[in-house]
């Protein structure tokens, strides 16, 4: 199993934001994480990406425990992410944002640049080419030179996905990637997610758009009040009584 969570807990004061969550994500799998607002989905992504530490439980990537590692180490092991409230580097261009995302796959010893050892230029040209190819993959190649802060909401989300893909992660964490997008943009994101999974990378997707989740996910974990209330294929989850109750209310 590529990514597995076992009995993960996180409390904020007296609040059990994540309360004993466990599930597994396989290689090349698109795994959906859904649930009502406040169910603990974003907290869970923050735990997996190392922005916060769990109060209990284990998170492992290919059997290696990662829940105590700093976030840059977790990224180096192959987990990158996007953010619900878009966190691009606003003063940098779209291409530069993706270049930052390429940090881990670049080898560019500064001393070579300092003393003009030939070769650094080619490395930089290659890195830029790679960044542009990722922007093309999310349909943003013609806005590469634009400052991130001047892009539209949907464009920023797409650049953020390109930035997260730039290091060539094994697991891509997407936090509501289609929020604020129109239906045709949503369709292109769905196609992109499927393509990423086909290339052997796994996706852990937090999303409110139920249609998209049912369409792209191989498996879905449903959270409510920090606990797993259902886990299974889209078909299984859609018919689950606890899920329907959580979403529609009632017993």
């Amino acid at each position: 199993m590529l990514l597995s969570l076992t009995d993960v807990r996180r409390t904020f004061g007296g609040l059990h934001a994540v309360d004993g969550v466990g599930f597994q994500v396989d290689t090349g799998e698109v795994h959906g994480l859904i649930g009502p607002n406040g169910a603990g989905k974003t907290t869970l992504l923050n735990l997996v990406s190392g922005l916060i530490r769990p109060t209990g439980g284990a998170i492992s990537l290919e059997g290696r425990r990662i829940e105590r590692l700093p976030s840059h180490r977790i990224a180096a092991l192959g987990i990158t992410r996007t953010y619900q409230n878009i966190r691009l580097f606003p003063a940098l261009s779209a291409a530069e944002n993706v270049l930052v995302g390429s940090h881990l796959r670049r080898v560019d010893p500064l001393w070579k640049r300092m003393i003009f050892v030939p070769g650094y230029r080619r490395e930089e040209a290659d890195a830029l080419q790679w960044a542009l190819s990722l922007l093309a993959r999310v349909g943003m190649e013609d806005r590469a030179a634009e400052r991130a802060s001047s892009l539209s909401y949907g464009e920023q989300r797409r650049v953020e996905i390109a930035r997260a893909l730039a290091s060539g992660p094994r697991v891509l964490l997407l936090d509501e990637p289609t929020a604020g997008m129109n239906p045709s943009e949503v369709a292109s994101i769905a196609a992109l997610i499927k393509e990423v999974a086909r290339s052997g990378q796994s996706v852990l997707l937090v999303e409110h758009n139920v249609k998209l989740v049912m369409d792209v996910c191989d498996r879905i974990t449903v959270l409510n009040f920090g606990k797993v209330i259902a886990d299974g294929t889209p078909g299984e989850v859609a018919g689950d009584r606890a899920v329907i109750a959580a979403y529609l209310g009632g017993e």
Binding site: S49, G50, L51, P70, S71, H72, I74, A75, A76, T80, R81, Y83, R87, L88, F89, P90, A91, L92, E96, L99, V100, G101, H103, L104, R106, D108, L110, R113, M114, E124, A127, R163, S167
Partner: protein, 300 residues
């Protein structure tokens, strides 16, 4: 104009040119840590360490000047490592306060150190610094910052400045980058201190007070911190300003001495209000203003 007054003019002018270079280097040392979003006000302390280390070497050994300068650079750079490790866990104003504390500790340490004559400081340091040394040092610092910009490390620094947690989830080892820049900035400040000590003949604790680091920060802010050469422009402008004011003041019969601080404060205020990216952003601002005017005239 006779030969005598021409030489006097050059002597005054020469020291102003030297101070532009030294202040430029000090402004760059503040900029270096600022470039990854960290406001460190320890630079006067680092400068003091560089000054004292180099002056002691000159006064007590026969070390050649380049070795003295190297020591003045390395001593504060090495001290910056154990200082930076804990202190860089702090953010924003707390980092500023802690680094001010460090600067004061260094100053008070030298006030109480008998070996360096306490508050009186070291005197009669031979003048070994010339304009060439100062401007080579400044050019070296500018070169390093120029080469960092646009490199993988340069983008990592910009990412840390913009959004540190997001940068870390891109795999950027933020604390290592921040520490490197604090060490580099300390080296620049120490080098400036070493050059300064061998230009002014004297090293005394009073030269490294909190006001000194505020001056450095004002140079950087007035010049502009979005590009690496901005702080040097700011240092040149604010170092020349009192000289120009004195000239103008004496013509119209004003005593410019007390006016100096007022004008410095006014310049800082105007830059923050109207040119938040500093003097270096002025040409572009003027060009844009002309373009919109031309467009408006065209439309009318």
């Amino acid at each position: 104009m006779n030969g005598e007054s021409l030489r006097d003019l050059w002597l005054t002018y020469q020291s102003t040119v030297a101070f532009i270079g030294l202040n430029g280097l000090l402004a760059l040392s503040v900029y270096t840590t600022l470039s990854c979003g960290q406001l460190s006000l320890a630079q006067a302390g680092f400068m003091a360490l560089g000054s004292y280390a180099s002056a002691i070497l000159t006064l007590h050994t026969s070390a050649p000047f380049p070795v003295v300068l190297l020591a003045g650079t390395l001593v504060p750079a090495v001290v910056a490592i154990p200082l930076g490790l804990p202190v860089l866990r702090l953010k924003g104003v707390f980092l500023a306060i802690a680094t001010i504390g460090f600067g004061e500790v260094v100053r008070i340490f030298f006030v109480n150190l008998d070996f360096t004559n306490g508050a009186l400081g070291l005197v009669a340091i031979p003048q070994r610094t010339g304009l060439v040394a100062i401007y080579l040092a400044l050019a070296g610092a500018l070169f390093i910052l120029w080469r960092i910009r646009g490199s993988r490390a340069g983008y990592a620094l910009e990412a840390i400045r913009e959004d540190e947690p997001a940068a870390r989830t891109m795999g950027i080892h933020a604390s290592a980058y921040k520490l490197s820049m604090v060490v580099l900035g300390a080296g620049f400040a120490g080098l400036a201190g070493a050059l300064d000590a061998h230009f002014n003949f004297i090293v005394a604790p009073a030269n490294y007070s909190f006001g000194r680091v505020v001056d450095m920060l004002v140079y950087a802010v007035v010049g502009g911190t979005t590009v690496f050469y901005g702080p040097v422009v700011g240092a040149a402008f604010l170092t020349l300003l009192p000289e120009v004011l004195r000239e103008v003041g004496s013509r119209v019969g004003l005593q410019p001495g007390p006016l100096r601080l007022f004008v410095n404060g006014l310049v800082l205020l105007l830059v923050i209000l109207f040119l938040p990216n500093g003097i270096v952003s002025l040409p572009r601002r003027v060009r844009r203003w002309l373009e919109t005017r031309r467009a408006a005239a065209h439309a009318a």
